[in-house]
């Protein structure tokens, strides 16, 4: 089976943060808020995007709980 043999060593990958602006023509398909963004601020995984949304929205509660607390009959 093709593939690399494990070396037995832990390889440290040098982490590079490349800051560059996407050329406008290569920006993602626009939505209401699409922007050409520095790579550093793009969320590289779905879980990181989801975490950012959760942080931005803050705590949420169900509508039923909200209406009960508000005394909405």
């Amino acid at each position: 089976m093709a593939g690399k043999k494990p070396t037995g060593k832990t390889e440290q990958k040098e982490k590079k943060i490349v800051i560059k602006v996407l050329a406008p023509e290569k920006a993602p398909a626009p939505t209401d808020f699409s922007l050409a963004l520095p790579n550093e601020v793009m969320f590289k995984s779905l879980s990181k995007r989801a975490a950012a949304v959760k942080k931005n929205i803050g705590a949420s509660q169900s509508l039923s709980d909200f209406l009960n607390k508000a005394g909405w009959e």
Binding site: V21, P38, A59
Partner: protein, 606 residues
Amino acid sequence: MPLGTEERRLVVDQALALIEQIYVHLPLKRAMHAVDPIQRLKLLRYHAANLSESGFHAEMVSIFNGLRDLHTNYILPAPFRNSTAYLPFRIEEYFEGDQRRCVVTEVSPGWADRYFKPGVIVTHWNGTPIQRAVEINADREAGSNLEARHARGLGAMTIRWLAMSLPPDEAWVTVTYQGDDKARDRRFEWQVFDSSGDDDPLAVSGEVALMLGLDAKAEMERQTRKLLFAPEAVEIAKQVKLQTDSNWVGAPTGAGSASVDFNAISKLPDVFTFRPIETPSGRFGYVHIHTFVHWDDAEFVEEFVRILGLLPQNGLVLDVRGNGGGNIIAGERLLQVLTPQKIDPERFYFINSPLTLKICETLNAFESWRESIAQAVETGAPFSHGFALRPLESYNDLGQKYQGPVVLLTDARCYSTTDIFCAGFQDHEIGPILGTSGATGAGGANVWDHSTLVGMLPGAISPFKALPNDASFRVAVRRCTRVGKRLGVLVEELGVVPDHIHRTTRQDVLTGNVDLLNRAGELLAERPVYAVSVQVPQPTAPHQIEVTTKNVDRLDIYLSSRPHGSLDIADGTRTIDLSPLPSGSNVLELQGFREAKLVASTRLQL
């Protein structure tokens, strides 16, 4: 905390004072929609003690929605005022032939699954066919025309700002959609979050609070969509603020130090996005003005001008779809940079009443309107004379900055300041309007908040009192009319009808408006590009200027508004000697004509 009976009566009494004494559109709404809000309020006051909390607020919201005026609203007290209900996805519409299709276009990160994702067609909503469900929702919205109500009904299917919308009746929604292989259902519970904060469109004070033209609900929904679907936009706004505001109190720690490239990102990132676009008809500039909510109009216009300088100069697609308005001055002052014509701003009118007379007599800011309102006791005129909100010079103090042709994109969600901007664009014949709806939202007025009115007159002569639990109102107080060929025509209820219609396609809603932008490119390519530019090669010899022109056959030269000369010219660059220059500083203005029509102008401080 629910309102007690006396508190409810106070709320109703304040609504009556607003509607009876200052609401500028009352005669129009009575005629247009056969409504009687005053009698409904009096009945509500009579029954106030017998209604449930939800029943009272539902009737208040219904009375104000019946006015079909997104400027004039009842704002529910806390905790509703500060809360927004949402579902974690967005639905939009497109046309397949004559058929409307409802499609999921965005799903908040973490909520999509292998079946429910952007691109699936929604067919039913809690078992109701989706178009019927949208119609039912639209009936609860206040938009002036059917398309505006429909657009708002569609938006409110998934986001409701509870300050102005009743909570959903259902605790959850079952969405039936067409997946890849078969029809599927998915259930979503409505969630509620605290939407108060820095971006609250109701939190404005000072002079700008008197200059608002804004659909506050649409603005809150836009902000909520940004939070749910565009965390990148939220992050870039923080990065921009870190770079541009060294005094930012409350800046997040560890926020990073990414350097924002302002050649690609606006310094007002919530307001403007921009880029060059490639279309089959050519490469053009594209700017989307998402909102006019920016209280410094000079900064707003300055940033727009800066962005225009970064884009192709042979044509501009200017997009104001979904823009619910904001600062009227910012909107009207923007027009001058797109045309060599002098901008004639819209005129604003009060309804004639003892209260509007008192306001105009007490406050110098409204001195212009005083005389005609006072005369109304003799003339019987229902409305005051009309005046611009600022001196006329302020709408023409910068002159044209972009000389290429411009196409404006509009839809039924354009409202208020955006209506006024679109009307000005059309009335000054700046360029064609390409709409995805038959008209804009049709909000033609300046809106004041109840709290602004409370502070406006001394307590002894003012009918306005503070309301309990942060309840409030907004009311249209000055209506506006158009200029040019449509002089005197109302914006309210009529809106701006585009010159061309584009029916939104599936490609548009799912892949960045490709078909719409291509159509805009076609319209731009049909139009000639004019250019007049000037340089001073030797600053020590400002009387020698180099002028480059294109598609211009006559050049008129003005120095500090005085005629200096007129030349017949051909395309190209030439040196012109302005000797002798008047002493002191001079403003040079060059006006380019084609077949006796003014087509381009430029200004330079010498």
